[in-house]
């Protein structure tokens, strides 16, 4: 049988197909179709069928990542959404706790505030109140709720978010409202904060619930349209969607909690890296995805991506587990420029796909990072996108000369080198952010680059951070799409605790766990996962009493005993010390949230067939000239497809594959692992 991964990006849709038995892999790219989102993805499916000669019934698994949710929020193209909330609090979302959550430049008097997610006239209040301790001090006025709902219907509202104050402590009023709204209105998408994010702090909870509502109708529609159209093609495969947490979910779940798709796009790549680590037995990896407009970094430990509980999108905080990805505006298409004091800066402006870098010859005149890499030899003009697309070195050099070299009074080569090194510094900083700033030493990790431009800077970055080796996976250019077909099913659930460790009763906590685990298990069963492939993970968010931020601590499996509860405090203290270098004595550890993750272990990592060297000698296909930091170096060129398992070559050398080139320095060495990954041991300066 065959698996397909589809990754819909801003410009291109990448498709990967793997044959389970032979390990054979096919890949292709088709244009994304923003106006008719299913079209691009389905075109891609057709294209990969043609390329591989597959029949629809041979496909048994489709994993699909999409930026549809992200774009909907950023472009304001979601459903017409209303909010129903506690009397006195309809402005919570607009007030944003009086704070500029984006922390944009505080010296900018002209900062923009994004349009409200829900216009004020569609934010309705109802009489009800729950106290902080869960006492219902005012029951919900149902008549009033009906009136408000009628007004919303009249205004043509498509989706309603319900978020009442203190509902994570006692959700009775909110549940009553949700039931009533669902009873009375069939055509509105209704979602409640206790379902989406039952967690204290009303601003974040409201945003999360509202975003879920905004996405609800259209994302759900997309998931069912896509699935139906796939079925119409005769494909009987299970269809899954990639969530921000790096796990897949069936279309039915997208209908209920589309907010989990918010960071679907970049999650695929990080998940693929995690799988690769598991397979290679790599304990920790820094994953770096360099595309056209950005460089995205995440951290993988023990074969799983590091997670965070919330993200900020367009200044709105959304609390939903997502992979901790740091994104900076330094991609291949980022424009390099000289500021008024003669400093070289990169981005945030990008040449994007159109006109693209100057070397694309599509009218771009400003130099990009790719143009500089081309001039220096790190990008091969003749093999870009498999040689189907020749790059214009003269145009790149002219752009660099006019915009960088001349203003700085240096030659083109020196200017290009400077841009490359500044880009390296920026990217290295992002890599430091996910390691050093999280209390990890980069020297304990390997670097796994992917994305179209990922290999181009990889070895330099590893050297800069003293990362001992680089592992270059097969098909780095479509690695994100690959992630869609190797991921597991994940279902994240949470409940509010807000108690000191010594106030927690193991029995009561066990009940909360059981309830969540049962529900999560049911969801996975609905998604077609057999019981023996379902695993549960339990975690709690903890802090020292009074702190505002939490750290996640693993909780024991099985029936909880007092000792398991006591262990929470100790584990937290150790983790706090590791990261912050101090203990707080005399303060209890407080548990804020319980988190349950149900894993449906359906993901598989397929490797291309093992290639053995049968007595033939490995020979380079020619020579390349590369401008290294200390001058031009002539080095042999190898084709990646000529390399066989067990090969080991000393640098300097260049390895080329479809659309990318990796330069390996004089002190480095490359070996071919048995899954066709290149393992580069990075020499020290």
């Amino acid at each position: 049988m065959r698996r397909v991964g589809i990754d819909v990006g801003g410009t291109f849709t990448d498709i990967v197909m793997v044959d389970d038995q032979s390990g054979q892999v096919w890949t292709t790219k088709v244009p994304t179709t923003p106006s008719e989102p299913t079209v691009g993805a389905l075109n891609g499916l057709e294209a990969i069928f043609d390329l591989s000669g597959s029949k629809p019934e041979e496909i048994d698994f489709i994993g699909h990542g999409t930026t549809i949710a992200t774009n909907m929020v950023i472009e304001g193209k979601g459903a017409k959404t209303a909010l129903i909330t506690t009397e006195g609090f309809r402005d919570v979302m607009e007030l944003r706790r009086g704070w500029r959550h984006d922390r944009a430049d505080l010296y900018d008097l002209f900062f923009e505030t994004p349009a409200e997610l829900v216009p004020r006239y569609l934010r309705k209040e109802v009489t009800e109140r729950v106290s902080y301790d869960g006492t219902v001090s005012q029951t919900l006025d149902l008549e009033e709720l009906d009136l408000r709902a009628a007004e919303l219907a009249e205004d043509g509202v498509e989706a309603v978010a319900v978020c009442f104050l203190n509902s994570p402590v006692n959700g009775d009023n909110e549940q009553t409202a949700l039931n009533r709204l669902r009873e009375r209105s069939n055509d509105m998408f209704v979602t409640g904060s206790i379902e989406v994010n039952p967690e204290i702090m009303e601003y974040e909870r409201t945003c999360t619930t509202v975003v879920n509502a905004i996405l609800g109708p259209r994302c759900g529609q997309y998931a069912s349209d896509f699935t139906r159209k796939v079925r119409e093609k005769g494909v009987r495969a299970d269809v899954y969607f990639m969530q921000s947490n790096g796990g897949l979910t069936p279309p039915e779940a997208v209908n209920q909690r589309p907010v989990t798709l918010l960071a679907s796009g970049p999650a695929g790549g990080a998940t693929a890296v995690a799988r690769l680590c598991g397979r290679l037995g790599v304990k920790g990896a820094i994953a770096g995805d360099m595309g056209g407009t950005s460089f995205d970094v995440s951290l993988i430990r023990n074969a799983r991506p590091e997670m965070r509980n919330s993200t900020v999108l367009n200044t709105f905080t959304v609390r939903c587990p997502n992979i901790d990805i740091i994104s900076i505006g330094a991609g291949g298409g980022s424009i390099a420029w000289v500021d008024e004091a003669g400093g070289v800066r990169i981005g945030p402006e990008s040449a994007a796909a159109d006109p693209g870098p100057a070397c694309y010859g599509k009218g771009g005149t400003r130099p990009t990072v790719t143009d500089c890499n081309l001039v220096l030899g790190f990008v091969d003009p003749d093999s870009f996108i498999g040689g189907g697309f020749k790059l214009d070195v003269a145009a790149a050099a002219a752009a660099i000369k006019n915009n960088l070299a001349d203003p700085l009074g240096i030659d083109v080569e020196a200017a290009a080198l400077m841009v490359r090194q500044v880009a390296n510094a920026l990217m290295a900083q992002a890599m430091r952010l996910v390691t050093v700033e999280r209390g990890f030493d980069p020297r304990d990790f390997v670097y796994i680059p992917y994305g179209g431009a990922g290999p181009v800077h990889a070895v330099d970055l590893a050297r800069e951070l003293e990362v001992p080796s680089v592992v270059l996976p097969p098909l780095p250019g479509v690695f994100s799409a690959f992630g869609m077909l190797v991921a597991d099913l994940l279902h994240d659930m949470q409940a509010s605790i807000v108690r000191n460790v010594d106030e927690i009763d193991p029995g009561a906590l066990q009940q909360q766990i059981d309830a969540l685990e049962n529900e999560a298990r049911a969801r996975l069963r609905e998604g077609g996962v057999p019981d023996h492939l379902i695993e549960m993970e339990r975690r709690v968010d903890c802090c020292y009493l009074g702190q505002g931020d939490t750290m996640q601590v693993e909780l024991a499996n099985g029936t909880l005993a007092q000792a398991d509860i006591d262990a929470i405090g100790e584990t937290f203290k150790n983790e706090h010390r590791r990261q912050w270098n101090f203990d707080v004595t005399g303060r209890p550890v407080r548990v804020m949230n319980l988190r349950i993750r149900a894993v449906g272990k359906v993901g598989q990592f397929a490797s291309p067939p093992v290639r053995k060297r049968n007595g033939q000698a490995l020979a380079p296909i020619g020579m390349a000239r590369i401008r290294m930091a200390d001058g031009w170096v002539e080095m042999p060129r190898y084709r990646r497809e000529d390399l066989c398992n067990g090969d080991s070559i000393e640098g300097p050398l260049v390895i080329e594959e479809l659309s990318s080139r990796i330069v390996i320095g004089a002190k480095d060495k490359v070996e071919i692992a048995d899954d066709a990954s290149l393992v580069i041991t990075v020499g020290r300066d």
Partner: protein, 593 residues
């Protein structure tokens, strides 16, 4: 030096400063630090020049320029050892901005030589003094504003100096939280120093020093280019600051004055003519005046210039000692930095509007507008769980932010020099014996204009303390935020207590503390903000939107904007609007004739 090492060090230092702030926020105990972000981190070179700062509270940064130097010089560079960390808060002995902002300063050593300093600053919820929360302006002198900590060494060999710790902590209320906050600030300084040591190891201490020096020159150069673009000339402005409103105290508004001279790539601010310092906490130490000035210049030139002390070199500030804006011992200062300083910035923006009409903002709420409740928690279960009995809660309140050319103001936001956010409603209710009954935007509080001023919001608290001490401190209770170029003014600050017998007592912007009891209802509403440009030039569609969303009233739509709306169909009555606007224009002509 080579541009690459320069760029690596320069941008690396900013990222270190950010990391310091993160360490602080994630480990602190005061909600105003971890939820409100009222804390800052910066890096100084070996000459105590600020070379990098996080995207933090600007008001803390400017004064750190002065207080870091003061801290180090008070101890003496020669007396500093690896593992030392200095603490200070004092306005007169340590260059501070006000007593509740406490600074930790740590020398960074490489092979026995100081190569840099890291500093963190946090707003402590209490620093002692006459009233809980240390924020009452009704004080005779600085001693009444809380413990004065001159620069002293709080950590030696990376171990706390226990006696000093105890002395300081016991002079503040809510000691447990204080311990967390100090630890957090220390963690920030420590992690920053470690990163800089690593950097020195990597590029060499000489290159590091050289890069720091160049970073300062680089920002200075960019700033000079920008100042050259401001038309040369002398611009004069003045305004009035609100006095402390206590029985038998002088209640006259306090005049402030400025003369701005722009000449080539230099800009001079002369505050001569400003009133002498006054009794009560509204005075600004010189560090605060410098910060207000520096902030303004940075914002009206190019906010993207990498910020460091180099930006301030082309700026000269003249202000006679003993005045409101350069006060001397023993003047009280608590609200100088939070309430007076933003007013100075507003005055400067208005003064420079003729030179740079496209770069300025109509006047805003500006004030921190803090509300502080302090008392005994009557909830026994919570007392046991949270392990404290006496509680203190402080929140700044967000008001309107003024309209800008081509852009409306912003509703209820903390902007300009203070950027601390507010505590979540649910958190407040969880931790303190208070219920928040509502928090809502106030219709018509944003000044009308071609671009509308931002609205303020009002928070209503119900008191569950048996008895509590309440300090409310704000600005613009008497002087409303002005509009610009035909824009109208915004609403004033307003606060009150409604007693359980329904008697309403109003709370002035700078009065003494108030005692509140169970079931009293407290309202706090900061000022709104001014509009920009003539309101009758605003597109009727925007006015319609504003009306439908309740940002403005029907009266305002008609009287200020000249727009007539059919509220049944939510459409603009084009004809009636045209007629009304015509009449308004004629009325104006008649009036001016």
């Amino acid at each position: 030096m080579d541009k690459i090492t320069f760029e690596i060090v320069r941008s690396g230092l900013y990222s270190v400063a950010r990391e310091m702030k993160v360490a602080m926020i994630r480990t602190a105990g005061s909600p105003i630090i971890h939820s409100g972000g009222d804390a800052s981190a910066a890096i100084f070179d070996a000459n105590m020049q600020l070379v990098a700062q996080g995207n933090d509270i600007p008001t803390m940064m400017g004064s750190a320029v002065i207080s870091t130097k003061a801290s180090v010089e008070a101890i003496g560079v020669e007396n500093l050892r690896p593992g030392d960390t200095i603490i200070s808060n004092d306005v007169y002995l340590g260059g501070g901005n006000h007593q509740p902002d406490v600074q930790l300063t740590r020398p960074v050593f490489h092979k026995g030589k100081i190569i840099a300093y890291t500093m963190t600053r946090g707003h402590w919820v209490d620093i002692g003094g006459t009233a809980p929360g240390s924020f009452t302006p009704v004080t005779w002198d600085v001693h009444a504003e809380g413990i004065r900590i001159p620069p002293v060494i709080l950590y030696r060999d990376d171990k706390p100096v226990e006696d000093l710790f105890r002395l300081i902590v016991n002079n503040t209320r809510d000691q447990d939280t204080r311990m967390l906050d100090i630890n957090a600030q220390y963690a920030g300084c420590f992690v920053g120093a470690k990163r800089i040591e690593e950097m020195a190891e990597k590029v060499g201490p000489e290159a590091l020093a050289e890069a720091m020096k160049e970073a300062l020159d680089y920002s200075e150069k960019l700033m000079r280019t920008q100042i050259e673009r401001i038309p040369d000339g002398v611009y004069e402005g003045s305004d009035f600051i609100e006095p402390v409103q206590a029985t038998n105290w002088d209640k006259e508004l306090i005049p402030v004055k400025v003369k701005v001279t722009v000449k080539g790539d230099k800009i001079t601010f002369d505050y001569t003519g400003t009133a002498p310092q006054v009794r009560g906490g509204v005075n600004c130490p010189f560090s605060v005046t410098c910060n207000s000035t520096w902030f303004t210049v940075k914002t009206i030139t190019d906010h993207t210039i990498p910020i460091n002390q180099g930006c301030y070199r082309p700026i000269e500030i003249i202000c006679p000692e003993g005045t409101l804006l350069n006060c001397t011992y023993p003047a009280s200062v608590v609200s100088g930095v939070t309430e007076t300083s933003p007013r100075i910035i507003d005055m400067l923006l208005e003064t420079l509007a003729p030179a740079l009409p496209e770069r300025v903002v109509a006047q805003s709420n500006d004030a921190a507008c803090s509300g502080i409740f302090s008392g005994k928690d009557p909830d026994a279960a919570r007392v046991a769980s949270l392990r404290r009995e006496h509680v203190q809660y402080i929140d700044p309140h967000a008001g309107g932010y003024g309209a800008r050319p081509m852009r409306d103001g912003v509703n209820a936001i903390r902007a300009l020099v203070g950027n601390a956010g507010m505590t979540s409603v649910e958190q407040v209710e969880n931790f303190f014996p208070l219920t928040i009954e509502s928090w809502a935007l106030v219709t018509d509080s944003g000044g009308a204009g071609r671009w509308r001023g931002g609205l303020t919001a009002e928070r209503t608290y119900k008191v569950h303390f048996d008895e509590a001490n309440l300090t409310v401190i704000a600005e613009r209770g008497l002087v409303p935020p002005k509009g610009l170029l035909g824009g109208k003014e915004g609403s004033c600050f307003k606060s009150s207590v409604t007693r359980s017998d329904n008697a309403v007592e109003s709370i002035p912007s700078k009065g003494g503390y108030v005692v509140v009891h169970r079931d009293d209802v407290v309202r706090v509403r900061p000022a709104g903000s001014g509009g920009y440009g003539n309101p009758t030039a605003r597109e009727p569609a925007r006015v319609l939107d504003d009306l439908r969303n309740g940002y403005i009233s029907e009266n305002s739509a008609r009287d200020n904007y000249g727009v007539v709306v059919d509220t049944a169909s939510w459409t603009v009555d084009e004809e009636a609007t045209a007629a009304l606007r015509m009449t308004m224009a004629q009325g104006k002509e008649t009036a001016s004739a």
